[in-house]
Amino acid sequence: MASSDERPGAYPARNGAENQPPGDPETMKTVMIDKGAAMMQSLKPIKQMSLHLCSFACYGHDPSRQIEVNFYVHRLNQDFLQCAVYDSNSSKTHLIGVEYIVSERLFEALSPEEQKLWHSHDYEIQTGLLVTPRVPELVAKTELQNIAKTYGKFWCTWQTDRGDKLPLGAPSLMVSPQDVNMGKIKPGLLKKRDDEYGISTESLKASRVDIMGPERKNPMADYWVHHGKGLAVDIVETEMKKLAPFP
């Protein structure tokens, strides 16, 4: 019915400026209602996001398709992080998915079938692809050392890089940049990001030589690298178990 590795049928985009979803600008009334309500609500869970990371990810069914990603991270404890993922760090951005990050210890306790869905982070940190905008390296070091030993699971629900003006189709499983030809990030993409943030990936690499990956990198992670097979997701119709008629 819908698959993460298929292009959806064409549809007319309305009012869509380049890269913006179709739709009218917010009315003043909407803005005022929202501001009024926001004053009465504490929004506690989202206030827990305390770290912004910028890096790159690749589509699990086609790692040659690469995107810049911006993670807003909530660390629940020393072993687990949950992240909202956007395609830029501006206010006019698209929520493109969610990533979960677990320590090596938690990862090793997962079943092999589950481990296939996860990716490692050491390469993207060691090569300076993953950055902590505005936070000096010296300050960020502890977190970078932590995250370099973790594994992540990233579902992407909006393929903005192929021009989708609305979130279409099935979620894609994403993978991380890796030290193989297809897993290396295209120079143009990297330069665009580095210019925007005023970063030199080369100097970051030099300052991160002592950052180590997991004690023992699990071969079930980064499944595509070791097995030459990507993972695509399909949505299939089935019978719904019901308590009452639906819809």
């Binding site: 504490s42 929520l95 609305l166 009452a244």
Partner: protein, 241 residues
């Protein structure tokens, strides 16, 4: 009726892990002081509602949406299993007006659900906001369509987000949601869904009625994973170090 399986989340298992070390949390404190959180700052609204699995209505979850407007016609929401600081991020939802929904290809429409009865029935509400103010926004929400994925099956007691994503659906008529789940939520947030229903009786759903393809087109939906061949990883020309 089966034992309700909605009692997941508020007293659910803690996420496994050691307490955050001081050295680590200091980085996060420093970061939050200097970094820009522009996308997160767009989130300005908390909505509480209920979702069930698109292939299994008997599995129901209280879903806390934290939403921001992309524009007048579209919102994007992070979904948590509770309203507190330790809530788990379990999914996301996109909400569009009927105008945008109608531009979707037919196969895509099936993945979206309607909000009319969630709102008019009183099941969806904004914690902490007086009904008179909520109504001004919810009368718009009643006309919209949503697409929800959950990534963490907290209702099964999973300590970690394992498995594939799930498409979720929302209530479309009375008799679908567990009464005891509704009562617990009413008690926790000091709301009365009956009162909300009365005050929302004037609201209307989509102008063209509920699209027949929405809400799964009447079918259940589930996700499967499939291996695909990819080019040998070293076959891509080496153009840079």
């Amino acid at each position: 009726m089966e034992k309700a399986v909605h009692l997941s989340t508020k007293n659910g298992p803690k996420v496994p892990g050691e307490p955050t070390k001081t050295g680590t949390s200091m980085v996060d404190t420093a970061a939050s002081a200097v970094q820009s959180f522009a996308p997160i700052n767009q989130i300005h609204q908390h909505l509480c509602a209920f979702h069930f699995y698109a292939y299994d209505m008997t599995r129901q979850v209280e879903a806390h949406h934290f939403c921001g407007h992309i524009n007048e016609d579209m919102r994007q929401c992070l979904i948590y299993d509770g309203p507190d600081a330790n809530a788990r991020l379990i999914g996301l939802e996109y909400i569009v007006t009927e105008k945008l929904f109608m531009t979707l290809p037919d196969d895509e429409k099936k993945l979206w659900h309607t909000h009319e009865w969630e709102v008019k029935g009183g099941f969806l509400f904004m914690p902490g906001v007086p009904e008179a103010i909520q109504r001004q926004d919810l009368e718009k929400v009643a006309k919209t369509y949503g697409k929800v994925y959950h990534f963490w099956q907290v209702d099964l007691g999973h300590q970690l987000p394992i498995g594939l994503p799930n498409i979720m659906m929302a209530v479309t008529r009375d008799g679908q949601l567990y009464p005891e789940m509704i009562k617990e939520t009413e008690k926790q947030f000091g709301v009365s869904m009956d009162k909300e229903r009365e005050s929302r009786a004037y609201m209307k759903g989509p102008d063209h009625g509920i699209h027949p393809l929405a809400n799964g087109g009447g079918k259940g939906l589930t996700l499967e994973v499939r291996e695909v061949d990819i080019k040998p990883v070293e076959s891509v020309p080496r153009v840079f170090v």
